[in-house]
Amino acid sequence: MRSLPVVLMLVGALVLGGCGKKPTTVPESSGSTVVEGSGTGSEQGQGQVGEGRDLPGASGSPTGGPAGVGNVIYFDFDRSEIRPEYAALIDSHAKHLAGSGAVKIRVEGHTDERGSREYNIALAERRAQAVRRALMLQGAGDGQLTTVSYGEERPAAVGSDEAAYEKNRRVELVYGR
């Protein structure tokens, strides 16, 4: 299970590369972050893979975020407060957005699988909104940010244990949406 997200990203990239029929549809979130974002591997608890990727190159891409900065913010159970350790990450993205007004991102909220699905949609929305507000406080423009809540529908890690749950309670910043 531990290595699953890595496999998913690779397969996701292949799937995305192979089918270009509907660009507005977001396929699997973990797949799309690899294609659209930069340095996602290191923030998904998959450091060894993240370090092997071409981060500086990705930062030059018009659809990427700030170089070498992760794009996933993790949350505590049933909470939507942003933990202090993510202040720098959010600040980097906010500055990046403030500096390039044409860049748009999707702020995607997620929860772990426990409990009621629609309540989880609401909880993930609250997480996404917390990140959206934090980005705007640091200079990102309202029009650059779209939020979407997937609740528990799109886990980053499969499994019914705390190791999977903590990877799934997250907000992903997806560039180019």
Binding site: S116, Y119, A122
Partner: protein, 432 residues
């Protein structure tokens, strides 16, 4: 009456493609005092082979309910076909309380007629004697209706065998999940696909006439609520506002839809959308999460989940202006996703019971919460239209699957799918 039934059957016979996975129902826990009954194969009064084994379906329905113990067919020492031929002394020796007998014959217009009689072994009384016409394609449904009548006569509660369920089936690789919204008979047969997407489909809800489903789909890239007519497949987008569009629930008269919306500010609240006018009424206005609305049977109250007191709990609020929400669950740290019983007395909820997510029942008159299910990740309770059973989603072997528990917790059944995961089942209303 029968014309109305046939009209409903015609609609239900139409829908699209078969949906794939085969469903089977297994009884995990039956009632010790289940009713012993003999369901005698019905005589076929026509040429060639009988068009359908009505008794087999009645037998299976009654057995699957967990409330009956039908005698195995091999143990039927005699096979009477009319009440007058039932020798109660013989059936008493087999320790059977009731005997169902009958005949099937062809009608001049090409339909069939099912005649059935229910006999009480205790006193020889003929409890039911009914002749029912049935379209050749609807003999299975007609058989469910025979089971409904037997169930009601003996238990005093209308049977719900001739109803349907809607659910979300998920399969395919994790990188490219396939979501299907499926409608099937209450016994899992006759699956048909309503909608399909590689993006999540959630929260199916029946219209009170059983002809439409409201649900959430992400196929546009963002969440939106749709209403789809089953007979025609026509899909209408009814809510696609900024933020989340979720948790649809039809009002008892079908004219309005309760929803959870977050609008632009991200504050999730309960709203009521009048479908004909698109008029939107805000019901809750609290900085906390308010979601998962459910209508009281009289349409005057909405039950919903809110974390305004810290964690999720269930509240009720009147729809009259200025009404204040009232908290209804007090036991445990987590009570969510309320569904009201058809008689308005019992709320089924998702509750945390010693660390496990289970289906609980709240008695609205006396208070108090009873835990009904025994899984680790049980969710999405939905009452049968007769109130006797609750359909829900549980996790078995790492996969979401459907299960049914009686609303008193005494009968427990599991619905197994041959492939994929099944979740978020919603039980239809009565369909006639």
């Amino acid at each position: 009456m029968f014309r109305r039934i046939l009209a409903a059957l015609a609609i239900l016979a139409l829908p699209a493609a078969p949906a794939g996975a085969q469903l089977t129902v297994q009884i995990l826990k039956g009632m010790a005092e289940s009713v012993p009954i003999a369901v005698v194969p019905l005589a076929w009064e026509g040429p060639g082979e009988a068009p359908y084994d009505v008794a087999a379906t009645v037998h299976a329905d009654l057995e699957r309910s967990g409330r009956f113990r039908p005698l195995p067919r091999a143990q039927l020492v005699e096979q009477p076909h009319a009440a007058g031929e039932v020798d109660t002394a013989d059936w008493r020796m087999l320790k059977v309380d009731y005997v169902l007998v009958g005949r099937v014959s062809g009608l001049p217009d090409g339909r069939f007629e099912i005649r059935y009689e229910l006999v009480s072994v205790a006193n020889g009384e003929r409890l039911l004697g009914t002749a029912m016409p049935a379209d050749p394609k609807a003999l299975k449904r007609a058989s469910h209706r025979v089971a409904d009548a037997v169930y009601e006569k003996i238990l005093g509660v209308r049977g719900a065998f001739a109803t349907r369920i809607a659910y979300v089936a998920v399969d395919g690789p994790v990188t490219r999940r396939n979501y299907r919204l499926v409608v099937a008979d209450a016994d899992g047969a006759n699956e048909s696909k309503v909608f399909e997407s590689h993006d999540p489909i959630m929260s199916p809800a029946w219209s009170p006439d059983g002809r439409s489903l409201a649900y959430v789909s992400f196929h546009s890239g963002l969440s939106a609520v749709y209403v789809q007519t089953l007979a025609t497949g026509a899909q209408v987008q009814v809510s696609a506002k900024s933020g989340i569009n979720g948790a649809p629930a039809f009002s008892p008269d079908g004219s309005r839809l309760a929803l959870a919306l977050s609008r632009r500010d991200g504050n999730v609240d309960v709203y009521v959308l009048t479908l004909a006018t698109q008029n939107l009424q805000r019901v809750t206005e609290d900085p906390a999460i308010d979601t998962e609305p459910c209508w009281s049977p009289d349409g005057r109250t909405l039950y919903f989940t809110s974390d305004r007191a810290g964690g999720p709990q269930v509240y009720g609020v009147g729809l009259e202006p200025g009404a204040r929400a009232r908290r209804l669950t007090f036991e445990g740290s987590y009570n969510a996703r309320p569904r009201i019983s058809p008689d308005g007395r019992q709320l089924a909820v998702v509750t945390v019971d010693r660390g496990a997510y289970r289906i609980g029942s709240v008695d609205l008159q006396r208070g108090g919460l009873q835990v009904l299910s025994g899984g680790q990740l049980d969710e999405s309770p939905s009452f049968a239209p007769n109130g006797a059973d609750i359909l829900y989603t549980g996790r078995v072997g790492g996969r979401d699957t459907l299960a049914i528990v009686s609303s008193d917790g005494r009968v427990q059944r599991q619905i197994a799918a041959s492939a994929g995961e099944l979740r978020e089942a919603a039980w239809s209303p009565f369909l006639d």
